[in-house]
């Protein structure tokens, strides 16, 4: 493999990776809200039975913030983590969409379509793009040595 020198970045490129970072940051912020909403719901009839879901949401929130940070540094693990998270979220959203269509004959509310369907689809599509994938390339040992 030909090793190519990677200069230390002096400015953040305004590329598609930056767009993904912002979109994943929005997801992280919505998870902060979900965690608080779930915690409040525990006191309004949800009971302790809902505690595992709130805990999982808090963990997902922490992982998403870690992914935001990793994407900013073009870390390969952050790309993989984001793909897994967006994929899982998309699966649940599709289940909810199916439930909504079966039970009400209507799709999801507009905001849910944006935040739970279009946003993860956009994140996955950008992260799977060949150019973006190359930006997350793990440096060769020679690059690391330099």
């Amino acid at each position: 493999m030909n090793a190519v020198a990677v200069p230390a970045p002096t400015s953040r490129p305004r590329d598609a990776v930056e767009v993904v970072r912002v979109l994943v940051l929005l997801q992280a912020a919505t998870l902060v809200v979900s965690t608080l909403e779930g915690w409040i719901a525990l006191g309004f009839g949800g009971g302790v039975a809902g505690a595992p879901m709130v805990l999982l949401t808090a963990i997902a929130c922490g992982l998403t913030f870690a992914a935001v940070s990793g994407i900013g540094r073009r870390a390969a693990w952050a790309r993989r983590l984001t793909l897994v998270g967006a994929g899982l979220g998309l699966v649940v959203a599709v289940i909810d969409l199916g439930l909504s269509l079966v039970m009400t004959g209507q799709g999801l509310p507009l905001v849910a379509i944006l935040t739970r369907l279009l946003l993860p689809v956009a994140v996955i599509a950008i992260l799977r793009d060949a150019t973006v994938r190359a930006a997350f390339r793990v440096p060769t040992t020679q690059e690391v040595a330099r």
């Binding site: 970045p9 002096t10 400015s11 953040r12 490129p13 305004r14 590329d15 598609a16 930056e18 767009v19 970072r21 912002v22 979109l23 940051l25 929005l26 992280a28 912020a29 919505t30 998870l31 902060v32 809200v33 979900s34 965690t35 608080l36 909403e37 779930g38 719901a41 309004f44 009839g45 949800g46 009971g47 039975a49 809902g50 595992p52 879901m53 709130v54 999982l56 949401t57 963990i59 913030f65 935001v68 940070s69 900013g72 649940v92 289940i95 909810d96 439930l99 909504s100 039970m103 009400t104 209507q106 999801l108 509310p109 507009l110 905001v111 849910a112 379509i113 944006l114 935040t115 739970r116």
Partner: protein, 398 residues
């Protein structure tokens, strides 16, 4: 539509129901969605104009083509917000129309600066933040938020985040930018909740709860009121339902008896504990006082107090029989989050569209109606006044 009752006869059922504006699109906002969907046509028109030699279109197109990806996205998002505000200037009072128009012009000006390569970040942050904050004020002031409003605010927040993204690496800069985005999203969700519940509380009489406000509270779906008084026959039927229910469930004052008949009283706690009976939920009987699907208890220091029963229809979309006409309003719940680990209520679908992790969003529940049998209850159907209940439990129960 008529529905047969288990004990013979039939009753008229409600045909329509009303939910919270939070999960809906206000009719006057539909035009904004259409306008946004037409934006690609406008973009195509600019390209067409450029190909036909329009200097202005060529300048815009050349500027846009020079932009990096993130700035192109920012330009589109700001333009979306401008178009939404422009599409809304036909509605509301004159002051609101003027504000929407000013916002649309300012946003279009910022988008144009961005495309033409002029400094745009600071103007964008000022205009977009002003737009978001103005909506916060309106929502917290009691204007019920809808899906178009919240979606537009999220679009603006993404545009702000792109504008404030640090241009050079730096931990502090990154932290400040991230914190700003989280704060904007958090306050937007909070304003959504406050606006929805404030609109529901506006004009409600004490004790009416989610049945009495100018708008329906989030998560609740009310059957449409027939807009008339109850007939003597309906009053008699409603009284009969209460009397039959009171007599039939008296034995369940002892939760152990209820448990023996299949009610899930485990974990009884709080002022409105609902003990369901899965055996009665799909037994083919509707509004049977002998077999209510749920009992409602309050847990007190002196022990559990039976407050009444809740009848549930066997499936969603099946309207409950309005035996007492306007006296017996059924309700359902919409957009609730059900956790899967274990199955439990984890809240309402957020204004931001989500539920906690490992939860699914249930769009609609079967219809249900409470019958309060506790002595002296100010309401026998609908919501029980919580202030009255606390006073009752403190005095009548010693």
């Amino acid at each position: 539509m008529n529905l047969p009752l288990f004990h013979g006869g039939s009753v008229t059922i409600a045909e329509a129901s009303v939910g919270s504006p939070l999960y809906d699109i206000a009719p006057e906002h539909v035009g904004a969605i259409v306008a946004v969907l037409l934006m690609p046509v406008a973009a195509w028109y600019v390209r067409l104009g450029a190909s036909r030699g329009s200097r202005r279109a060529q300048t815009l197109l050349a500027g846009y083509d020079r932009l990096p990806t993130a700035d192109r996205i920012a330009a589109w998002l700001i333009a979306v917000s401008a178009v939404v505000h422009l599409a809304l200037i036909g509605h509301g009072p004159a002051a609101t129309k003027a504000l929407f128009l000013a916002d649309a012009i300012a946003l279009a000006w910022v988008a144009r600066r961005l495309v033409l390569g002029r400094p745009w970040r600071l103007p964008a942050v000022v205009v977009l933040t002003g737009s978001v904050a103005a909506w916060w004020a309106a929502a917290i002031g009691g204007e019920p938020p809808d899906q178009v409003a919240i979606a537009t605010k999220l679009v603006e927040i993404v545009a702000i985040t792109l504008a404030i993204a640090p241009r050079t690496p730096g931990r502090l800069k990154g932290l400040a930018s991230t914190s700003a985005t989280v704060a904007l999203v958090f306050v937007t969700a909070l304003a959504g909740w406050i606006g929805s519940f404030a609109a529901a509380a506006e004009g409600a009489e004490p004790g009416q709860g989610h049945h009495g406000g100018a708008a329906v509270a989030p998560g609740t779906l009310l059957t449409a009121h027939p807009g008339r008084d109850a007939t003597p026959e309906e009053r008699a039927a409603a009284d009969q339902l209460v009397a039959d229910t009171r007599r039939a469930i008296a034995k369940y004052a002892n939760p152990a008896v209820a448990a023996a008949d299949g009610y899930d009283v485990a974990g009884l706690a709080g002022l409105g504990f609902h003990a369901g009976n899965p055996l009665y939920e799909h037994d083919g009987r509707i509004l049977d006082p002998e077999r209510p699907e749920t009992l409602v208890y309050a847990d007190t220091r002196e022990g559990p107090v039976l407050l009444g029963a809740m009848f549930i229809m066997p499936k969603a979309h099946l309207p409950g029989p309005a035996v007492g006409g306007p006296l017996t309003p059924w309700h359902a719940h919409e957009q609730i989050c059900i956790g899967l680990l274990p199955p439990s209520l984890t809240g309402l679908v957020s204004p931001l569209g989500g539920c906690p992790v490992a939860s699914i969003a249930v769009p609609l529940t079967p219809e249900m109606i409470h019958v309060w049998t506790v002595p002296g209850a100010p309401q026998v159907f609908g919501d029980l006044d919580e202030a009255w209940l606390k006073e009752y439990l403190a005095t009548a129960r010693g």
